[in-house]
């Protein structure tokens, strides 16, 4: 379980997150929605420990985040993985990256690590691409390699920042179906998304964020009105059955 209390964050005098109190139960498929500049990515980067917290606290499994991070990792899939397309890494190398932090400094991967990475690639449906160079993968294939990296370390939490951004329509559907199956296997999924249509079918818990929290609840309890309040007039809600 993740508990965020009284979280505040600002940059250059501008407040980005205000008074965030949020509890994410285990095993949920959580979607964080909100307009551009709502602080969604900031919230995730604070949760992951990429950015330093200014105020408030985060507890994971009842332990302070910094302590928790010493012995655990989050499975994370960024919005844009910055890399050089000519970088000489294979899909397997990238999946292994999710295990590298578990090995002591200055040691090499062993056959069992490679096996684990291959299993993760198999779970995300790209095992046949294991020895392919990453520069030769399509956006959808690379996304699945990154998902394999996120799960290979055995983290119960998988955190994604707009995974649909680099995918075409059919790939989005199959990618979210894959996330759903991981969710059913016991992973807590936390994803930022703009695709309310897809979310309504897959996610079980909605966090509406626009600098402050507008809602955080099971999807069936969230009304179109709350979503409208989160986005303001910038978005029109198309009625859908939660």
């Amino acid at each position: 379980m993740i508990q965020i209390s009284n979280l505040q964050y600002g940059l250059g005098g501008k407040s980005i997150l205000e008074n965030i109190n949020l509890e994410i139960p285990d095993g949920e498929f959580v979607a964080i929605i909100g307009p551009n500049g709502a602080g969604k990515s900031t919230l995730i980067k604070l949760l992951l420990g990429i950015w330093e917290m200014q105020q408030g606290s985060i507890q994971i499994d009842g332990i302070n985040q910094q302590e928790w991070l010493k012995t655990n990792i989050f499975g994370y899939l960024p919005q844009h993985e910055e890399f050089d397309r000519s970088f000489p890494a294979t899909a397997l190398d990238i999946a292994l990256m999710g295990l590298a932090g578990k090995l002591p400094l200055a040691t090499r991967f062993k056959p069992q690590h490679k096996q684990a990475a291959l299993t993760a690639l198999e779970q995300t449906g790209v095992a046949d691409l294991a020895i392919r160079l990453i520069g030769n993968l399509s956006g959808g294939e690379f996304q699945r390699v990154l998902l394999a990296r996120a799960i290979v370390g055995g983290s119960r939490y998988i955190i994604l920042d707009e995974p649909e951004a680099s995918l075409d329509r059919p790939s989005v559907e199959s990618f979210f179906a894959l996330l759903k199956s991981l969710n059913e296997a016991g992973h807590t999924i936390i994803t930022i998304s703009h695709d309310l249509n897809v979310l309504s079918r897959y996610c079980s818990f909605l966090v509406c964020l626009n600098r402050t929290l507008h809602c955080h609840n099971h999807t069936e309890l969230v009304s179109a009105e709350i979503i409208h309040n989160t986005f303001g007039d910038s978005v029109r809600i198309i009625e859908k059955d939660y």
Binding site: G49, F87, I94
Partner: protein
């Protein structure tokens, strides 16, 4: 060609110098920090000037100075969230300006700016060959021991941190060793050759191979070949050694472009 022992020394020096930089070159190229080679060798200029002014050991003083500045650059970029390339450019010009002023203060010393630019491998001493040998051993040990950390640090530093890969000590060590390589190579190779040797062998290698360990090996082979052939050419045609090596390496680079991308599978 080798009737004089200094010629043998010079060839050894050219080989060891090229080899030491070639091992770093794939990382420097992939991290897109080839400007670091140029910047650190310019920053070394202020270190040289300080050593001359205060009458200190040239190599040691310059080494300490460059390592300190490179750590300050890394620290400033992280803490103040400045763009590393900008920080480096500022330090580069400040160091050059400082160097020029200090050299002009120590009037009684006639500083040979040309040898600083192009180096002179023919003047290399036994002690310098020894330090190049030690440097090569350190470089090799570094990339072998920290292969995994260096690989992911080079791939994407932020993601390496998210996945708790211990890159901080390796990243610092990388900077320190890079600085040491540049300073120790400066006398025999000069700024131009140091900069060239930190990028050309690697970009040539990546036109032939598509894995990091093969790139390091290929880069080393390219460096050995161009040092040997460039050296022989410069002797027979009576041309400056460092410049001939750079030109020969550039020739291999243009020829290697024909192989680019043919093995992408």
């Amino acid at each position: 060609m080798f009737e004089y022992s200094f010629m043998l020394n010079a060839l050894f020096g050219a080989l060891l110098s090229g080899l030491s930089l070639a091992i770093f070159a794939p990382y420097v190229t992939l991290r897109r920090i080839s400007y670091m080679g140029e910047a650190l060798s310019h920053i070394a200029f202020a270190g040289i000037a300080i050593a001359i002014l205060l009458g200190l050991n040239l190599t040691f003083t310059t080494l300490v100075f460059v390592v300190l500045i490179s750590l300050v650059i890394g620290w400033l970029s992280r803490k103040r969230k400045l763009h590393e390339a900008n920080t480096i450019s500022i330090f580069l010009s400040v160091s050059m300006a400082l160097g020029i002023i200090l050299i002009s203060i120590s009037k009684n010393y006639s500083f040979d700016l040309a040898s600083y630019l192009f180096g002179n491998v023919l003047l290399i001493t036994g002690v310098e060959i020894q330090s190049l040998l030690i440097l090569n051993v350190l470089n090799l040990a570094f990339v072998l021991v920290f292969y995994k950390e260096l690989f992911y640090l080079t791939y994407n530093e932020e993601m390496a941190r998210v996945f708790r890969i211990r890159i901080a000590p390796v990243s610092h060590l990388f900077l320190v060793l890079l600085a040491a390589n540049i300073v120790i190579n400066l006398k025999s190779a000069g700024i131009i050759l140091v900069t060239a040797q930190l990028i050309l062998p690697a970009v040539i290698a990546f036109n032939f191979v598509h894995s990091l360990h093969r790139a390091i090996v290929t880069s080393a082979i390219v460096a050995i070949l161009s040092a040997t052939i460039g050296f022989a050419l410069s002797y027979n045609l009576n041309l400056p050694t460092g410049a001939t090596i750079v030109l020969f390496e550039a020739l291999i680079y243009f020829l290697s472009l024909n192989f680019r991308g043919k093995q992408n599978a």
